[in-house]
Amino acid sequence: MSDHLNIRLFRFNPEIDVEPRFEELQVPTFENMAILDVVMHIQNYLDRSLSFRFSCRVGMCGSCALYVNGRPRLACRTQVSALKTQNITIMPLPNLPIIRDLVVDMEPFFEKWKKIKPYYVSRKDIVDPVVVHPDSNEREFIDEMLDCIACGCCYGACSMAATNEEFLGPPALNRAYTLIADKRDAIRVERLKVVDKSYGVWRCHTQFNCSEVCPKNIVPTRSIQNLKKRCVLKKIGVFK
């Protein structure tokens, strides 16, 4: 590893600046350095006015997604060495408004999330935790999909979300899947109606952009395909 990195850093204050600019900085490297370490080093020692968002630093909270060398990534889980270059361009996550520098406004993301009724509604007849044998396929791959940390990487990578303002996008649809497939939930059909729209599951063109960038190795495309299947089953009256 070389002893320093050449960083091109996106800077923008919508309140003051007419347009964004790039700042060029040299940052010394150290072992196990992640992109989060890079931006923190810059903010602490080189330019204290830089803004970015972070919290847990271990890939659990999903606060620090950035667009690094042409791809959405979690800053805390992206090792500098894995980028295999000394030249690194750091930008905010695409497809979302910018608050300042690398901080985006997640509001549109969560507005769509809320549209699919993301909250669990328990069936009236379920009064206790259900008994589910580990080898039954009752949970299909719900639990795997529930590992989503809502970081927005997939949303930033999705070419459909980029061009269709209405499109619900992979994370909201993935969350919808986890509830629609959950037999304990009382409003599965209602939720399926929300996603069974042109701006819902049918806008996904199965390009797998989302799955390529997911830091949790989730494949939202799979959830979306399963939702499509259920939408068809509903039309022929089989999904209840």
Binding site: S55, Q79, R100, M106, K117, Y119, P129, V131, L146
Partner: protein
């Protein structure tokens, strides 16, 4: 100043804050509830980072009494017994609610029922979990319940200080700052719930999320609330060593030791045989962490000042299946947890001490409830792994219930405008004064000072030295100014100055209490008083603010109302 009127103001959106909001709303949907949180909702704080799981009695062969005794034994018997009892009796309700109302789905065992795994210091395997990253499920689903209700959520909005009325005996809301715009405003509320999650982040090596800087505790202290056993800080034995990376000090969860992972020093000795031959690596956190530290200090550590955690003998397939999150994390530093030993260090993790509350989260000030890690007492001198998220869910629920009840009875009392303005001006100072005092070296100094002088092994002289230094640093941090004072929006440096002042405020309480307790117990170890002294120190140390920044200490004997001394003698 812009003013919002509310029935209930909640600060924080971890397990405690989220549950408080949910319960308050469900008790009375007509109430105006405002939840302000420093990060994005459900993303900040440590509940999100819970790995191992949550302790609860579900199995017929287990019992509430056993969980209670384990909690007291782990806590060195200075726990507030009522709080510990409430913790264990309400835990099944909290887990039931998480599954049935919130929709969580904990891992199942062979029999199809909720699986419970082994943690340290427990007489029964009672930790429910979702693999090894449980918090994602719990805190991933809670905000969705908040979205389903008419609750006002103010994201990236931090509490700065509490507002008081009636000669300072009642809290009537808080002054806050919107981090995105830099605007300072206030919420005038009937009831204020502090749930900002404490923080052990004043140490060089620590595990909590970066947004936690003891804000709630510092706010409570400045408002005059009473605290208990602030010297009790938990160090987790197995923090990952990752050099200068921010990953340094992040946790490798306790379930690994629960499953049989072993610890070795640099000489290859399984040193827990020496410190706790009966329980070995499954001994309680305080003991294992201190043993690690002693080995390192005695020169028997690894190259990078740690010890080795070895799970490889458990079988690579087993480790990969049961601990996928930990395997991934370790992979980030180029190591393979399933196949080789990994260097670990003790890491500051949790504060057992905190604001004094009763079983319904009522603090010593009217109108102020405190829940979760900000509150003290339930865990005594050492918290059991798995009792933390248990605490924030149990007490979050209770705080919400009481807040709804109080808010339905009371009126909004006016705040003192001069006080509000004074608070605003105080926190604006870093933006207006031109001292060029840089906050970052101050922060580094506190972290080193606390680690060296008030860390795992303490002595009177070193603590005294630290207290003197902390006083000076508090003053210095008060002079710090922001480099670019024209940018108020999302100004990290400005927020860091506020963070550091809060960290020092809490550190002073920790150090003052640590100096006072002349014995060793749980997380508090005094080299100059290495023994646990039950004849003199079965007491709780209370403190509150005196004058401007002074601290007044008092001591109270531990109330042994449920588990009597004779019984304790038997289970020791």
């Amino acid at each position: 100043m812009e003013t919002i009127k509310a029935d209930i103001l909640i600060l924080g959106s971890g397990g405690a804050g989220l549950f408080a909001a949910l319960h308050a709303y469900d008790c009375n949907p007509h109430l105006k509830i405002v939840m302000a949180t420093k990060g994005l909702v459900g993303k900040g704080g440590c509940s999100r980072m819970v790995q191992g799981g949550l302790n609860v009695v579900l199995n017929e062969n287990d019992s509430i009494e056993k969980h209670f005794k384990d909690t007291l034994k782990g806590g060195g018997f200075i726990n507030n017994q009522e709080l510990a009892w409430t913790l264990v009796t309400d835990a099944p309700k909290a887990v039931h609610e998480l599954e049935v109302k919130v929709g969580c789905f904990f891992d199942r065992g062979e029999d199809g029922r909720i699986h419970q795994k082994a943690f340290a210091g427990q007489s029964f395997d009672r930790t429910v979990h979702v693999a090894d990253l449980t918090g994602i499920q719990i805190i991933g689903r809670m905000p969705d319940q908040i979205f389903a209700r008419d609750i006002t959520v103010l994201e990236e909005t931090r509490g700065l200080d509490l507002l008081t009325a009636e000669d300072g005996n009642r809290v009537v809301g808080a002054v806050l700052s919107n981090i995105r715009t830099g605007e300072i405003f206030l919420v005038n509320a009937k009831v204020t719930i502090i749930a900002t999650g404490g923080s052990a982040s004043m140490f060089k090596i620590s595990a909590p999320s970066f947004d936690k800087t003891g804000d709630g505790m510092a706010m409570c202290f400045r408002a005059g609330a009473e605290f208990v056993d602030m010297e009790m800080v938990q160090f987790h034995p197995t923090g990952l060593i990752a050099g200068k990376s921010r990953l340094n000090g992040s946790l490798l969860e306790e379930g690994l030791r629960g499953a049989g992972a072993r610890l070795y020093n640099g000489l290859g000795e399984r040193f827990m045989e020496k410190y706790d031959p009966e329980h070995l690596e499954r001994s309680t956190r305080d003991r294992v962490a201190r043993s690690n530290y002693m080995e390192i200090m005695a020169g028997r550590g690894t190259k990078n000042n740690g010890v080795y955690l070895d799970a490889s003998h458990l079988g690579a397939a087993f480790v990969e299946e049961k601990f996928p999150g930990m395997v991934e994390r370790v992979k980030d530093i180029g190591k393979d947890l399933a196949r080789e030993k990994v260097e670990v260090t003790p890491t500051a993790h949790y504060q057992m001490g905190g604001a004094i509350i009763d079983t319904n989260c009522q603090s010593s000030l009217k109108g102020l409830l405190v829940a979760g890690e900000d509150a003290g007492g339930a865990h005594g001198a050492n918290r059991l792994g798995g009792n933390g998220i248990c605490d924030s869910t149990v007490y979050g629920r209770r705080a919400g219930d009481l807040a709804a009840e109080l808010a339905s009875q009371e009126h909004v009392l006016p705040y003192d405008e001069a006080e509000a303005e004074k608070i605003r001006m105080r926190w604006l100072r870093p933006m207006t004064q031109e001292s060029r005092e840089n906050i970052y070296p101050i922060r580094d100094e506190i972290e080193n000072l606390m680690w060296e002088n008030v860390g795992l092994v303490r002595t009177g002289n070193k603590i005294k030295e630290a207290i003197g230094r902390l006083d000076a640093l508090l003053e210095k941090a008060g002079r710090a100014s922001v480099e670019n004072r024209f940018i108020r929006q999302y100004n990290l440096e400005w927020n860091n100055i506020i963070d550091v002042i809060n960290l020092i405020t809490v550190s002073r309480m920790v150090a003052t209490s640590a100096l006072y307790r002349e014995e060793s117990r749980g997380g508090h170890y005094r080299e100059d008083f290495p023994k646990t002294d039950n004849s003199n120190w079965l007491i709780n140390i209370c403190q509150k603010r005196k004058d401007d920044t002074g601290i007044e200490l008092t001591q109270k004997p531990v109330v042994l109302n449920r588990l009597k001394w004779e019984e304790i003698e038997n289970i020791k």
